[in-house]
Symmetry: C2
Subunit: 336 residues, 2 copies
């Protein structure tokens, strides 16, 4: 019997239907080949990107030259532009504004690595510090309300370049997904006077069935109403609304937990295409009692079809408890 | 300069950013080949599907045998099951229920056609009457609240079989996407005392820039805040909340407009993978003044990546006005 499960934050229902995994398929699934060739993100090609916004680099080296470890540049093909005014306006029943915002690329290594798991823990920490530095800097601009950090790995997940990188898009409006998530969390808070994510951490640790990794400050786990096979979330145990307020000791542990979780997924699923998204609070929202930053990792193993587009609900053929059991057994090379 | 546009119903923002179309790509896009082989939907293979629920068939032919024109069967690998009780229950902070519902397949032709555009207008009308008949029948079951009709064409759009078919999933909860759409429409109605979709029809006809086809009872057009290149909607001009209440004259014209719109997309985009979704009102919702049924067609030309997953917003590189201008010129073989 399939099971309907509701995500307690977004109120989104998921159908856990293991039987559907067996259905036949007219279509072959072929891996999408890499063209290779020139990579603008590799060391030595600094002049092929727009000028750098910031970099962590070796002493005595210069902007837009070799010697960097993590480098941030504007996206050469930006979805939003940094200069200008919003110029909000209407057209009959429709609303529009200029596409003002920021679209940056965080290049995670001078070498042509294709996964964050190929980097040392200390290097991953620097990537996370870069996330923080950029959010802190961009939130000073009063035109902007939200900074979304995300990663596309593999063509199926929407990547156009394979060199390991993260993108940051800063928008003048709070994203609708974030808005719904925050409203759901706020409703729970009004009713129970507790953070729903804190409750989730407690319940997941108590039952254990969906836990992948537990450390002092973080858990990684398969959410109760996982939309996709092997969807994995990372939550800090301590309540904190804003990622950029994470303690140093947390950033250090997060680097380890994130890297190890990704390594487990890569081993279990043969280096799948995936997205991860950092969910954090809007810039101007203060110390919210009801919202709790976290990372959502989505392996892109299945196609989103008409049902998901039409309903906003998902059909998942792998129960999260089974995925978690499997991932716990896989070696994630968790080391400090 | 990119432009931010808001969908007036869902309040979802879309970034229209033509510059991003030019970005380089490490990955080759290869069409996914068809395996071919046995098709359980073809005439003569009626015993390879679960027993039929209904069919339009020639006089003197029998259930589950040859002679049908349109045939409805339960999905052999259902996401939801028809028998049982919901048994709603909790598990700590989480909610769940049994996966009760209906999951049916409408096989659109006894021949192995891969597109609805290969069928005669009269045959397409029968497919639309089948949609109606199934909704009318299933809404009698008080366990169910919503019937979602949708079509997946091509592997990239989530199809597993290429023989032209539509799916119907009936759920015990109103889908979250429908709920958001209805709330948005209701808010507009409270403010203006008019249906927002009726306003949309009027404004689109008045400006004309996004119209693809206009007939007596329907328009097909590119929506102002199109999420995807060549996203196309079909709206009835007359206000009606429920698809199943469409007049006979409307069904006849819709067959023609739907077929011609799909033919234009197939010609313009070289038979792209696509989904279409019939958006209609929940079963028990009465004659709503604020909601208006419609069809949304989504060609699946671009990948949904981390930004879209995280924000619920979309980046579209083709302005809907350009797509509409192109589609108007393409021959859709619009005939009665």
């Amino acid at each position: 019997m399939p099971e309907l499960r509701k995500d307690p934050v977004s109120q989104r229902w998921v159908i856990i239907a293991t039987e559907r995994a067996a259905r036949p398929n007219d279509f072959k699934v072929e891996p999408q080949p890499i063209k290779g060739g020139f990579c603008p993100f590799c060391e030595g090609n600094e002049d092929k990107t727009p000028p750098e916004i910031m970099a962590y680099r070796e002493k005595g080296t210069y902007q837009n030259q070799r010697g960097w470890r993590v480098r941030v540049v504007p996206n050469k093909f930006p979805a939003l532009r940094i200069e200008g005014n919003l110029d909000k306006r209407g057209d009959g029943i429709y609303d529009m504004m200029n596409g003002i915002g920021a679209h940056e690329v965080i290049i995670e290594s001078p070498k042509h690595v294709v996964s964050l798991t190929q980097l040392e823990n200390g290097h991953v920490q620097e990537i996370l510090w870069t996330y923080r530095d950029r959010l802190v800097d961009l939130k000073k601009d009063k035109r902007f309300t939200y900074g979304m950090l995300f990663k596309n790995v593999g063509a199926v997940a929407g990547a156009s370049l394979e060199h390991s990188h993260t993108q940051l898009i800063v928008t003048p409006v709070v994203p609708i997904t974030v808005d719904h998530e925050m409203r759901g969390a706020e409703e729970f808070y009004r009713y129970r006077n507790r953070c729903i994510f804190c409750d989730m951490v407690r319940q997941e640790i108590a039952t254990g069935a969906r836990i992948v990794i537990e450390q002092d400050n973080f858990i990684s786990f398969e959410p109760f109403a996982a939309r996709f096979p092997f969807e994995t979330w990372i939550l800090p145990k301590q309540h904190e609304a804003h990622f950029e307020n994470a303690q140093k000791i947390e950033i250090e542990e997060l680097a380890m937990v994130l890297k190890s979780t990704l390594a487990k997924l890569e081993t279990a699923l043969d280096s799948p295409p995936y997205n991860y998204i950092l969910h954090t609070s809007p810039f101007n929202s203060g110390e919210l009692e009801y919202y709790h930053w976290h990372i959502e990792i989505i392996p892109r193993l299945t196609k989103v079809a008409g049902f998901e587009w039409g309903t906003g609900y998902y059909i998942n053929t792998v129960p999260p408890e089974n995925a978690a059991e499997y991932l716990r057994k896989v070696d994630g090379k968790l080391t400090t």
